[in-house]
Subunit: 624 residues, 2 copies
Amino acid sequence: MAVPYAQKMAESQKEISISDFFAKNRQILGFDNPSKAMLVSVKEAVDNSLDACEEAGLLPKIFVKILRTGNKDRFILTVRDNGPGIVKKQIPNVFGRLLYGSRFHAIRQSRGQQGIGISSVVLYSQLTTGKTTTVISKIGEDYPCHKMEILINTKLNRPQIVSSEVVLWEPAHGTEFQCEIVGRYQKNKKQSVLEYLRSTAIVNPHVEIIFEDPDEEVFRFQRVVDKLPEHAKESKPHPHGIELGVLKNMLHYTEARKLTSFLTNEFTRISPRGARGLLDKADIPDKLNPKRLSLDKIQGLYEGMQNMKFMSPPTDCLSPIGDRLIRKGLRKEIDSKFAYTVTRDAKVFRGTPFQIEAGIVYGGELSAGEQVQILRFANRVPLQYQQGGCAMTHAIERINWRPYGLEQRGGKGIPVGPAVILIHIASTNVPFTSESKEAVADVDEIIDEAVRALMDCGRRIKSHINKKKKLKKVSEKYTLIKEILPEIARKSSEIVKKPQLALDEVITKIMNVHVIDTGIHYREVGEGENKQQHTEVTIKVQNYTQKERIFKLLVKVPDTLIQGIYPESYKMKGEVIEWDVGPVSPARSVHLGFTLLGLDKDEYEEVDVFYSKLPGEVIGADPA
Amino acid sequence: MAVPYAQKMAESQKEISISDFFAKNRQILGFDNPSKAMLVSVKEAVDNSLDACEEAGLLPKIFVKILRTGNKDRFILTVRDNGPGIVKKQIPNVFGRLLYGSRFHAIRQSRGQQGIGISSVVLYSQLTTGKTTTVISKIGEDYPCHKMEILINTKLNRPQIVSSEVVLWEPAHGTEFQCEIVGRYQKNKKQSVLEYLRSTAIVNPHVEIIFEDPDEEVFRFQRVVDKLPEHAKESKPHPHGIELGVLKNMLHYTEARKLTSFLTNEFTRISPRGARGLLDKADIPDKLNPKRLSLDKIQGLYEGMQNMKFMSPPTDCLSPIGDRLIRKGLRKEIDSKFAYTVTRDAKVFRGTPFQIEAGIVYGGELSAGEQVQILRFANRVPLQYQQGGCAMTHAIERINWRPYGLEQRGGKGIPVGPAVILIHIASTNVPFTSESKEAVADVDEIIDEAVRALMDCGRRIKSHINKKKKLKKVSEKYTLIKEILPEIARKSSEIVKKPQLALDEVITKIMNVHVIDTGIHYREVGEGENKQQHTEVTIKVQNYTQKERIFKLLVKVPDTLIQGIYPESYKMKGEVIEWDVGPVSPARSVHLGFTLLGLDKDEYEEVDVFYSKLPGEVIGADPA
């Protein structure tokens, strides 16, 4: 009897080390080609430094240096931070072992989570140059500073310590990472190290980055805010969308003795009452040992969890970028008067909370004949590659932008027009398509949220374009009436030698409209320490109808100090100033206004005015 | 002294199991959403079956069934093959452990390589339904058939055998895989299970697939070829593009005592003479122990390898799809008269051989106003997702298609026009962007090759379009002359009551051109077993000049039986028939032709005619 082929095959069936796997498939980690490898190496090191600083509550100060070597393809990369440092025993593990880290099991927003990033740079370095990576780390003023040279034993996925010594190092604490890689340095490109650092600095204004490029040019990105972003708290899974298998595993490993305590302690948003309701519905007695639940009962519990209503997940485990920084990020690309941003509420996919923010700028000097530019961010990290493979791009492509005034062949695909779209996902576990963290996977819930945010932006572009058009039309009519009619009246009165007629009423009759005009004026008051930034806002309502008007006017204001609101007959309702205006006689106007403090020039760029109780046509505002 | 934060962090720094990693990041494996999860599950199981059958030299017969359960989101997937089976001991490892497989270290083209695919389906199944996966396998007629139910212990990445028994099973050998998953079944969609199976059957004509869908509709894809494709041989790394770190590792683990034997035995295409030349150039004595080479010496050896010329890698480790099946794949999408394919020579990236094939169809009923359709394949597996993130798509986007007659905004991006492009990469290690194997990474060498293949296709579209235009113009002129001139002559002769003039010479004088017309006629000869497929090809050369012509005519023919070539004054030169034609007098024509046997209807669709020694204008052929 011949030996079955299966027995021959069995000999070659064996375990594959994760390091070997990634050494063979390094493109999965983002090291597809030399320029990308350069960017990824910097990114992993910087993201790591930022995460460590923020976790330890330290304002990050990062120094990045790329040094050319004698070999034109080879560069020495140094990244140094003022973070908490790493204890000696863990240095080799953190840098010399794939799938080793501290943030994997934590439900909290952070840049790195997989325990792969920085060790993948070490792996890439040794693959392409054969050299060791040097790590220097100090955990406190009175602690020794350790310097280690390491390699990764890929067959075992374990660090190999080539040298280890105690050295003198000035900083009180921090970590320095240095490796030699094969790479390419690209200056002045969209997908470059400099661009990555600049974008990172914009959406992380609490960070200081100093970058020395291979030509020894130094770029400084100063800290703008002396405060860390709200510390993203650790959370627990949300019952919605959690997977059956995960629930099963949680039950298996729980230390809770009762199901109610399991449910209330190990999930967010399940109250004791909710837990009892759940168990009642699934017909499971509370006294059952959570560890011994049958698959059927787990299934029942699972279905109950999916069908029951729970509060949205807490958002304090998320750290969105926020309206102001989104505008700033967009304005970096283009100087345009119109920008609109939207921050959605947190939602859940597979039990994981996430939040979508989007922003759009329109017009300005942007070329109308090209595809709109897309800026993608995930957990405050700019994504520079794999745009075509990203759910955030797919959301843009799915929307029919034509009703919103952008060109788009066939009503799908990336639209064409003078616009830049920014989109950010914040999540405790961003579902990237690969370990290189370049694109977000097509998770239905995420695409849905992104589509909603973007459509909101789209509607605002449209109303912006319409408003502009309408105002232009009215202003043409207005010019005609206000300038030409009096001229005709003057000439006629000269000819017939009679006194000139009063025209206001005639004009009013012809116009039959209310015109609301707004103005924004920025100035700096005082000097030096006492300097104040004033943004003065004026609103003028003209009554070009034949009736007296009494109405309400509402203005949405940003979250900043407000001074000198006039007239004083106003009420503040949240972020809205509400006036009772009038009576305003026909052909008369009324002035309103206020001053915003502490905003940068152009930070407040469009006055959102709403009205109620004004019948007929109103130009320059929307009904409340 | 306060405890440094680093010490607090150290407590949570720990190893992450690969199963846990993928359970948390299942989108990396392709399980982004229910419809994709369905497709990926089928794909991984079928790819596995195909690889196993082919490796064992068995013609694959695969049965796939998707069964709806009582729960509308849940399906039971069964995939059964007639492969070699799996020995009992290895069943749990192959299905219940990530990063475990037989093909990872082999340099040979296969669908699976990572040892992740099928166990990822088991993981997904238990994550979403909590259920076990059942595997039945038998390795030979006289061996017992084993049935096992398994789960994966994700904390350890080890299989957990829930039950194991010996059962009766009719087939002589084979494997059946059954799991329950949360999924969505999409009928009649581009990115569907059916579409995947159909495309797979087309480029793998040696495969029989029977598919029963959730509506119990059965689809049969019959075997078309009774022969396995050339068995892809195992190869060794090619010296070009291999990485320094890999070379260092190979030296470390080699059993060779001398560097020359290391180089000649462990690489392909390094001859003993080449090896000595290499060592001389790098100034390394052959007697040095390969294991003890310093990094400097390794670096020198590495640089020498990159700068020296070597033969291209052997292609017998690759299995391209081939011209005929590419046309068939394209024709499935669209019935068009024009198709062109190109197969590039094998090239190397990072020491890994790869080969690009491309094909294009143009015209037919395709809509002219939409983006061209793209069909991507890797190692004969259709890629249905992540088109936007794939190097093959990026190659298409990088080309300026406008000179080739397709529309394209700004000369980049996916072109618009009535065309379908197919592109295939065959490689011993396709560099996918992620474990889900949906897109190829942007490796420079691959994009370059793809661009070359596609530009070749582009040039052919252009010459096709030009030829069509030119023929149309000439035929209009010809119609004018051939029909209207005689009519005028007739009328004139009637009026003047004189005999009609002979017009041939006049026409010849006006035309002053050689016109080559071709015809293809398909018919079936005989009945039943004796049925033969005949494709008759005719070529007519008309001499519309005033000189007698003696010239050469060449026709490229496909690789099939050829009969009845006339006139008999021909020579076969490889795939080309060459005739010495003439003398052909002015206003006279000559006929040539042949019959191709065994091709399907429309399989031969355009006669490629070339000429030499014909001065002046020639319509319908290109100069040789």
